[in-house]
């Protein structure tokens, strides 16, 4: 499938947040290892899903890859540009090529700006359309493209529904003609019937503009629907990565298996006959990840070495990567 260079390359990327204590003199007593060494490629035109539960680091990963956070170590390259180690000019170019759609349609739009200002901002900031008239025309085009009436161009965010606000966010992300968009849980705050609308829109735009997506989500059913390949994160690391159907049909990592078995199926007969793997306990804190394999305290098949040695990230079948001693 991949004959040329991947559009996005992530190599052992880490993002740690220091935890400091002390009144007069602040000392670092530890760090939250939110992202602790992730590696993957995303091919041009591909949608890579990044799934995991709260605290796994997927949102931090998305933001670090785009350079919204400086990386603690490791590398992220988008279209050849090193996100964390490039000069200002290169970063400015990066900001046009790589965009983000945020999760909360209520927090991600400036409530004091009109739609014209919000969608027009990238066009203004990157000097794509300095003329206000031309800019307004382009904003209207974008609004039409995402299914919003251009007549609403001078309205404020609070005058729109959640689904419409999310469309404003999509239009804003498209304004600079990006090649790569990080979609950080773009639909979780929306009702089911609206989720389908927004997902269909994202797919149409991908076909039309040849976009590449990193789709961060916790809704595993939606991820199966929209993604080409899927990576599963747990406590800051990726535990499994495979082509979509391969992951859902042959999950190898015990965490992936438990995660998939926990997702309810809207089919009573099927749901009743399922074998559910119920995990014990809660997700541990990323301040103090367990030694060895991070999943071992909750793993139903943990062995002695799992608590001592971190499992190796290996390709066990073509395109299917896992980090687990039992595989």
């Amino acid at each position: 499938m991949q004959t040329s260079q991947p559009l996005v390359k992530v190599r052992d990327l880490r993002k740690h947040f220091p935890v400091r204590r002390g009144l007069i003199i602040e000392r670092q007593i530890g760090s939250v290892k939110a992202v602790d060494g992730i590696t993957f490629d995303i091919a041009k035109g591909e949608t890579l899903g990044l799934v995991g539960e709260s605290g796994c680091g997927k949102t931090t990963a998305g933001r670090t890859i785009l350079g919204l956070y400086p990386a603690t170590s490791g590398q992220a390259l988008i279209d050849g540009i090193d996100v964390h180690h490039s000069n200002r000019e290169a970063i400015k170019m990066l900001r046009r090529k790589a965009q983000m759609i945020f999760q909360d349609p209520y927090a991600s739009l400036n409530p004091r700006w009109t739609v014209a200002g919000i969608i027009g901002e990238p066009l203004r900031v990157h000097n794509i359309l300095p003329d206000p008239q031309a800019r307004a025309e382009r904003v209207k085009e974008l609004m039409l493209r995402v299914g919003l009436s251009p007549q609403l161009i001078n309205r404020f965010p609070h005058e729109f529904s959640g689904g419409q606000r999310q469309r404003i966010g999509v239009a804003r992300a498209l304004a600079s003609n990006p090649s790569f968009i990080v979609c950080d849980e773009p639909i979780s705050a929306l009702d089911v019937s609206i989720q389908a609308q927004v997902v269909n829109l994202l797919e149409d735009l991908q076909d039309e503009f040849g976009l590449t997506y990193l789709f961060i989500a916790h809704d595993l059913s939606m991820v199966r629907h929209i993604c080409d390949r899927v990576a599963v994160m747990y406590l800051g690391v990726i535990v499994e990565l495979a082509e979509r159907d391969e992951l859902y049909e042959h999950p190898l990592h015990p965490y992936t298996q438990a995660l998939l078995s926990a997702v309810p199926i809207p089919d009573p007969k099927k749901d009743r006959s399922r074998q559910r793997i119920i995990l014990a306990g809660d997700v541990p804190s990323p301040l103090n990840p367990p030694p060895g394999c991070r999943f071992h305290p909750r793993c139903p098949i943990a062995m002695d070495q799992c608590s001592r040695i971190q499992p190796e990230w290996r390709e066990v079948a073509p395109g299917h990567w896992v980090a687990c001693h039992a595989v």
Binding site: E53, S54, S161, G163, D191, V192, S193, I194, Q195, A196, Q197, V199, N200, E203, H218, D219, L220, S221, M222, R224, H225, I226, D245, Y248, A258, L259, L260, S261, A262, V263, P264, I265, P266, D267, P268, K269, K270, D271, R272, R276, I278, L279, D282, V283
Partner: protein, 332 residues
């Protein structure tokens, strides 16, 4: 088919809210029956009135701005909606208990978990301190909180989301209620924690023969939990059926559309998601005609003119629709 006794009989509930912008017609004639030991699910998207319906039954709607315009809610023969607050206080938390969506806002942040769970024991069952403490430990064990003797002295912020929800369940179960109303209790939780909570509730309700009303927007959760399902839209029940019937043979266009809009984790992708055009209606407008008409693919004149009643479409299966989706034409 149902030999069990009716324990809760809600008749034609209408609840409105009077706000600056006007009147919100939140619940517009909802009826439902709950039998002993039965689990029913009320399903719908935000704003459909599912929470307001049960909050009305529990007497938890602030009046004003709320107003229960009409309706009766018979619990073991007594109309809850006609009771005074003093009378309701004897029932709420004792016979009918509720668990809410966000445990962080539902729990009191300045009181220990133990103190909060013991409250219904002291108030309703008149337990003395020592007995109540012991019962709290038992309850925490029952809901799967490890090290209960110590954890009961923790505050809510020291518990994780899943544990807080378990603590809320313990509080709801304290007086062995006959009815548990769970309002989106797992929506804010991770999917593996959701599975734990659902497993816990099913185990407890089977052991205690407790009737459960589970409110949710998640059609996946419903499939695994409920015996009967009630689908709500714009303050009305639009379809009700046994869980198998609803998924096998849905009859209301909204139910059909909702099921078609769901991605499936257990199947390969075969087509685009079928989205429902438009958006849920503005409840500030007095409902007229079928509320789903503006978004319905089978709409015809009668739909806009006359609100359909709940019509029987199969055994113990009713749908509020003028259109016969099975035969592809309006009903006679």
């Amino acid at each position: 088919m149902n030999r069990r006794q009716v324990i809760l009989d809600l008749k034609d509930l209408r609840t409105r809210f009077h706000i600056a912008e006007g009147t919100v017609y939140a619940v517009n004639g909802v009826s439902l029956t709950l039998h002993e030991c039965e689990t029913i699910a009320i399903v719908g998207e935000s704003g459909c009135g599912k929470s307001v319906t049960m909050l009305s039954v529990m007497g938890l709607i602030p009046v004003p701005p709320g107003e229960i315009v009409s309706g009766q809610a018979f619990y073991r023969g007594r109309d809850l909606l006609a009771m005074s607050e003093a009378e309701m206080e004897h029932i709420r938390g004792k016979e009918l208990a509720m668990v809410f969506q966000d445990p962080m806002t539902a729990l009191n942040p300045v009181l220990t978990i133990g103190r909060q769970i013991s409250e219904p024991l002291r108030v309703h069952l008149n337990m003395d301190h020592a007995t109540a403490q012991q019962r709290v430990v038992e309850l925490l064990e029952q809901v799967g909180i490890p090290d209960p003797k110590n954890r009961m002295n923790d505050y809510p912020h020291q518990f994780s989301g899943g544990m807080r929800q378990r603590a809320m369940l313990a509080m709801a179960l304290a007086c062995a209620p006959s009815v548990l109303i769970a309002d989106e209790p797992t929506t804010a939780l991770d999917v593996t924690i959701q599975a734990q909570i659902i497993e816990l509730v099913t185990r407890l309700r089977d052991a205690l023969c407790m009737a459960v009303i589970w409110i949710t927007h998640d059609l996946g959760v419903v499939a695994g939990l409920a015996e009967r399902v009630i689908v709500m839209y714009a303050g009305l029940v639009v379809e009700e059926a046994s869980v198998d019937e609803l998924y096998d043979d849905p009859r209301h266009p909204y139910t059909l559309a909702l099921l078609a809009a769901l991605p499936r984790i257990d199947r390969r992708r075969d087509r685009r998601l079928k989205s429902i055009p438009g958006a849920p209606p503005n409840l500030l407008v007095m409902p007229h005609g079928c509320p789903f008409a503006p978004r319905c693919e089978f709409v015809f004149d009668r739909c806009r003119a006359e609100t359909p009643p709940l019509l029987p479409v199969a055994i113990e299966h009713r749908a509020r629709c003028w259109y016969d989706v099975v035969n592809g034409k309006p009903f006679e």
